[in-house]
């Protein structure tokens, strides 16, 4: 089992290494280097030379990659072009803000998804299932920016209950942030919950149809005891990995949601750095977002391994 965990960990590191290569090569082969695309029309003479010097664009690409990777491992992403700041200083508060948003959405979303998923599965094709599943289909298919815009229009503009747009400085404290994040959290949690609830539903339905549950029914095990002791443990285990993938997939959606609400998190930084053509920041964001994705998946693997006695000895291959 430890070998398995170790193997997953190494695979995660390999993935991150390839990501770093991809982002580096990607920025390298796309037309225009960091300096010319950032300076645009002023890209000549002294300004260009100074920029090239500062980013080290005059040394060969492979050496630059090695020194960049070496610094990144030590947690130093270098300098941002637009703010003339260390990228770490730019990233710090943004990561904190996005973390607040994401964890709030996860804390609300996962329990809600479990409850809704189990309800819809146990009352399959009855009224509760039909209503919840229909709402779920709507909330997971409609793009984030549409549900967010509608939330602002209805809750903030027509009902005037909550502020529609977040107008706070980047380094705001948690309690000042709280009333501002309610709508973004709802927007993100809605989609996440819908995806996960649907997944839990079909997983529970599958287990309910299995032989050992039929056996339990025939033996006369009380219904709720059967649900909690036999169905749920078996149904929720495979759900962990999919929940992780769903959370990771939402990283992209969070970008859009943050822009709609003007929320000062990592997502808006993605748009800002790309609009400013601040390629060093884009590179750093690529690595950070990929690390989040890889670690969420790794944690999910760990949880599955620890909770599933059958996997302790079995070599699994994806």
């Amino acid at each position: 089992m430890f070998f398995l965990i170790f193997k997953r960990f190494i695979l995660g590191l390999v993935t991150l290494f390839i990501v770093s290569l991809i982002t580096f090569i990607g920025v390298e082969i796309l037309p225009g280097d960091a300096c010319t695309s950032y300076l645009e029309r002023e890209a000549f003479g002294e300004a260009l030379a100074a920029c090239i010097k500062r980013l080290g664009l005059d040394i060969p690409a492979h050496e630059r990659y090695i020194s960049w990777a070496y610094n990144v491992i030590q947690g130093d992403f270098g300098y941002s072009l637009s703010g003339q700041m260390q990228i770490n200083e730019v990233l710090g508060p943004r990561i904190k803000n996005s973390l607040v948003l994401a964890s709030a959405a996860i804390i609300i979303g996962i329990p809600l998804a479990l409850i809704l998923g189990i309800i819809t599965a146990l009352w399959r094709d009855k009224m509760p299932d039909i209503i919840i599943s229909t709402v779920a289909i709507f909330s997971m298919t409609i793009p984030e920016f549409i549900s967010a815009t509608l939330l602002i229009l209805i809750v903030a503009i027509w009902l005037e209950w909550l502020p529609g747009i977040v107008i706070v400085p980047t380094d705001v404290t948690f309690f000042e942030l709280l009333p501002n994040i309610i709508l973004p959290v709802i927007a993100i949690a809605m989609i996440m919950t819908a995806h996960m609830a649907r997944m839990v539903r079909s997983s529970v339905i599958q287990v309910m149809a299995s032989d050992y549950i039929q056996m339990a029914i025939l033996k006369g095990v009380p219904y709720w005891k059967m649900v909690f002791k036999h169905v749920l443990p078996n149904a929720l285990l495979p759900a962990i990995n999919v929940v992780a993938l769903t959370i990771a997939w939402l990283l992209g959606g969070v970008v859009v949601t943050e822009v709609v609400f003007n929320y000062p998190g990592l997502g808006r930084l993605v748009i800002e750095s790309i609009s400013n053509r601040d390629l060093p920041v884009v590179q750093a964001l690529g690595i950070i977002l990929a690390s989040i994705y890889v670690s969420i998946n790794f944690i999910a693997d760990l949880l599955t391994l620890m909770l599933n006695p059958r996997l302790k000895t079995l070599q699994t291959r994806k």
């Binding site: 993935t15 390839i18 695309s37 995806h195 769903t246 964001l285």
Partner: protein, 298 residues
């Protein structure tokens, strides 16, 4: 018994009949029927709308700014005095075209690479899957935005870029589907007969994994539409004054406290199309006997 009947059937069904069979199975359930109806409506609308659009979509008229819906302007006018109804019925054309061709590209390269990896296995498979995993872990939006901002937002950039980024998930599905059939007797005997890899892929594997890949492709289409609209919304998709729902929502959003019609019309257009494609893809999966709901949206 059913299988036996098919084996001894003198007149096997033609492929057209099979397609009609699948469509009628899809339409037999209310959700599938609604999905198909919405999708067909949108496709017909996208093809025919230039002939009955009442106004010019790019005609700017300052005296008609932000008019409420009326008998003259059914959905009102936007902040530049353009007719919202005209722009809404035209707004799906670019998105549908780009994502349709993008999905085909995604299906082709993702499906073939996945089948190839599943068949060959070994070192090549390991390396390719590592790279696919790495691409999966970079958020699509970051990569797409970077490409589009450096190469421009023309159709020639958007179609291959979207096709590439939405194909990597298909690689996994196609590979897994190939693994399911690879150990079966007919593949083993084809190998024993000395068939080449290409012949095995084409004649033995493809017919068996086609359903899974097509269902995945249908689903990718709706995600790609979502992705493309998000790009437009962020200002990295089609460029103005081309009517596009994502762009229209983004432009009208700032003024929606008093001109809600300019934002609601494109929202209804885009949402209904995405829901239509989703319902159709789900019904398609069910008609082919594939359960999609246990998968994550990667």
């Amino acid at each position: 018994m059913e299988n036996l009947k098919n084996i001894f059937n003198e007149n096997p069904k033609s492929s057209l009949e099979k397609v009609l069979d699948i469509i009628s199975t899809m339409a037999s359930k209310p959700s599938g029927f609604i999905g198909l109806a919405i999708l067909i409506f949108h496709i017909i609308l996208a093809i025919t709308s230039p002939w009955f659009a009442p106004y010019d979509y790019k005609a700017i008229n300052p005296s008609l700014m932000l008019n409420a819906p009326s008998s003259e302007f059914w959905f009102g006018t936007d902040s530049l005095g353009r007719d919202v109804f005209t722009r809404t019925i035209l707004g799906g054309r670019t998105a549908l075209t780009i994502t349709f061709f993008g999905s085909i590209i995604a299906l082709l390269w993702g499906g073939l690479l996945g089948i190839f990896c599943g068949l060959v296995g070994g070192r090549i498979d390991d390396v390719v899957m590592r790279i696919v995993d790495a691409f999966l872990s970079i958020p699509w939006i970051l990569a797409m935005l970077l490409i589009v901002s450096l190469l421009g937002t023309t159709t020639e950039v958007l179609i291959p870029a979207l096709g590439f980024f939405y194909g990597k998930g298909i690689v996994r599905v196609a590979r897994a589907a190939t693994h399911d059939v690879i150990a079966k007797d007919f593949i083993v005997s084809a190998k024993a007969r000395g068939h080449s890899n290409i012949s095995i892929i084409w004649n033995e594997i493809l017919p068996n994994v086609r359903d899974a890949i097509l269902v995945e492709g249908a689903m990718r289409w709706s995600w790609m539409l979502l992705g493309f609209s998000s790009l437009s919304f962020l200002g990295f998709g089609v460029s103005p004054p081309t009517p596009d729902w994502g762009l229209m929502i983004s432009n009208a959003r700032g003024l929606m406290s008093f001109a809600w019609w300019a934002v609601i019309a494109p929202i209804v257009g885009l949402s209904s199309l995405i829901i239509g494609i989703n319902l159709t893809a789900d019904a398609f999966a069910k008609a082919l006997g594939i359960d999609r709901s246990t998968k994550a949206p990667v």
